[in-house]
């Protein structure tokens, strides 16, 4: 059943029609063209699709778009100027780059809540973002460098 909804993404309001059951990830990627949000498992197991809902990290692949409600969505496209982007590049915290947008979205939420995370805290807060290339040490360094943790 198509049901219309309003969605605020990176501060922009969108009016859309979507079938109930459609995921936020599909709407972002296919309807709004925001392909920075990646899909790697489509069932909540990897973190590639991480976005923020009112600042809280969520998996857009298992979030029903109609359940987003009034919460503001932030995607990687809304974080392009975040200092984490430069830090990830500087520290070589990406290889193939497919997990990277999700990593940066999660890291931005971590830093917002905890501006100077320790190594342990980074490990805890980033454990939901798998990186098959294994860029983890540099991801940690990038987050720590923005957080002033070292």
């Amino acid at each position: 059943m198509l049901e219309s909804l309003e969605l605020t993404v990176n501060g922009d309001r969108h009016a859309l029609d979507a079938p109930v059951g459609r995921s936020l990830a599909e709407v972002l990627r296919d309807d709004l063209g925001l392909t920075g949000t990646k899909i790697a498992c489509y069932e909540g197991h990897c973190g590639a699709c991480t976005v923020l809902l009112d600042g809280v990290p969520a998996l857009s692949c298992i979030t029903l778009v109609h359940a987003v409600g009034g919460r503001g969505v932030t995607t990687i496209e809304g974080l392009r100027e975040h200092p984490l982007v430069d830090a990830f590049v500087r520290e070589d915290a990406l290889q193939c780059g497919f997990c990277t947008p999700g990593q940066i979205v999660s890291a931005s939420a971590l830093l917002a809540a905890n501006p100077r995370p320790t190594r342990e805290e980074i490990g805890h807060a980033m454990a939901g973002n798998l990186c098959r290339c294994g860029a983890y040490r540099n991801i940690e360094a990038a987050i720590a460098s923005v957080g002033g943790g070292r």
Partner: protein, 782 residues
Amino acid sequence: MARLIKTEKEVEGHYTETWVVVEEDVLEQWPAGPRAVVGQPAPRIDGHERARGEARYTADLALPGMLHTAVLRSPYARARVRRIDASRALTAPGVRAVLLPEGADLPPQHAPEAIASEPGAIGAALAERARVAPLTSEPGYEGHAVAAVAAETQAQAQAALRLLAVDWEPLEPLLDADDAVRRKSLVSEPRVNERGDLERGLAEADVVVEAVYRTQNVLHNSLETHQAICHWHGDGELDVYISTQFVWGVRDAVAERFGLERDKVRVVCEYMGGGFGSKNGPGEYTLIAAELARRTGRPVRCALDRRDESRAAGNRNATIQRLVAGARADGTLTALGGEFVNAVGWDGLSASTAGPMQLLYACDNVRTVEYGARLNTPPNAAFRAPGFVEGTFGLECLIDELAAKLDLDPLEVRRRNYATTDPVNERDYSAKGLERCYQLAERHWARRDDVRARSDGAWKRGVGLASQIWFGAGGPPSYAWLRLNAEGHATVITAMQDIGTGTRTAVAQIAAEELGFPLARVSVALGDSARGPFASISAGSSTTPSMGPAVRAAAADVKRQLLEIAAQRYAVDISTLTVEDGRIVAGGSRSWPVEEITGLLGDGQLLGKGARGPNPTGMRVLTFGVQVAEVAVDVGTGEVVVERVAAIHDVGRIVNPLGARSQVEGGIVQAIGYALSEARLLDPASGTVLTKTLDAYKLPTIADVPEIVTEFVDEPDPHLTNLGSKGLGEPPIIPTAAAIANAIRDATGADVRSLPVTREEMLRALREARERERDRLGAPAA
């Protein structure tokens, strides 16, 4: 000048000697050590595109009018399809074509006319037997592609798939590798390699150790799944957008399947989300998409989902390794022997699991036999140093068990058996820095006592090491063009791909170095077979050693032209001119910005071309290394934590120390998953894959990653190309698992011999060690 020569080409351990046309490699190598750009750490030049989510991967592309595909895959490990009735699928909403296998009985209503006359049917929908796409009516593994549907949306394609009525006849699968060897179900002839006399060597030994090692199946699980979009246009031309490690290989394979001239197929891959060896060819998904696109006249996407990825996209095969080693009391090896069973699966290459045993040590008596078992399990695919990862685990654990029995230092035993020429064919090494690696490892190895002393209650700590040997020379052909414009900006053009290893950045550095430009003045256009010359596969640690020399030659070609013009413009002797940091320098005194010369070009450009020269003939070009792992083992719960890995590798000149370190860390992270947590599990009765999802298949997380220290010998290989660089993609994943297992023995006295070292394997090994100790103490005095 182009020459016709004979050269050796090596990919993942396989040498072939062929005639090739090469251009001479006339450039002198740069001296060792960091230079202005090469050898300096450089962040990826495409890092921002990737990090900001602007980079377009195959998964992000959508062509106008594109259809989506769902593939029916066998739910049985072995079966026969008696009959497929596609009539309901054909009339389902959005369906545009159905592809069926040869062999199965198709009911008569499949004729397109009949379909078209049914109410609600879409006239364009066609069900045809696949002529080109590799669909089967006799699936040999769970996930084998049987039929495919193209529809307007992915959901419609999937819904239609469920409407295919298939009459399956399940058959008994063959799942046990030893059983397959007994029954001679093999993918290739057994491989026997022998030098000296194993029996004699064992007889000469003071000490003999025998052990059986087992390694598990692991999945590549690249985050971007295997996928392609195919689009026919014009006069039978086919565009293929694909997540691939080898643009040219895909072009050739697709052209051959469809009987096309090779350049009628254009293959594009600008960004790709990981492959690790599994994306070297077109895969059935590309052929399915191409055929459906041909039939419907529309662009067609065919993408694997995560679950299909886990059963139909390849894997590192499991192995059983029955090994023996004999040595004299001083640690000199007298014999090495092994029977290796590779559980290859339905199809694939039986990789050289015996390779490390053959190549690593000077030992006169070596005999290895390798079997590639053909099973009703998903086909393997190359996975980062296939064979050597598995074989190094067995060999390097065996050497440590031997050292323990001889009561010798494991590093000492390795040095005692150091090979100074290739033990198989007695060729000289083009360069071998393994002893240098051992020297650099000493300070990490020396931490042993401190680490052990930090054992604390149930947590026992220890240190282990293992050596690495692998290929990585790359080879011709590989070409690059370079274009310099009026603004003094250079573009390297070559149809290679950057699969995340950072080759785009490395070749930009090489071009910048040769041109005397800052890195920011070089960009790289890659990933399009219609818009650049042939380039190497990104596999077998071959991209940098193949592409780098070609790019350097292209840059040298342009630099020569630039200096010729400058010599005329400034009326100076060309031999006094160089380019440094974007300025043309005359004899060290006068200098001008490069733009002064390039500005004269207007719309003109300076064009250069370069080709990869030949490999040295009659020499072994190999990579070497050693890793030292520190672990902590909780003997109460069997938990193993890797606390530190020091990796020292010799891969010739390091072009980008930053990117190189990332490669090493990535390899080690994957190896830690291999050693401790990853396993593709099958249901033992049906042979179906149980770990199809990323909650069940346990990749390492950031919390599982230890401190990693990376060091390089960083000496150019004097015999290899104008660059002296070898590949680094694979070496770092090779020795880690053995180093971890050896550290576990150091910490606990327990011999872990099966990967992954889960709680159950760790607790089993501890129990065995306790029993052994009890027997030893309880044994009556002699």
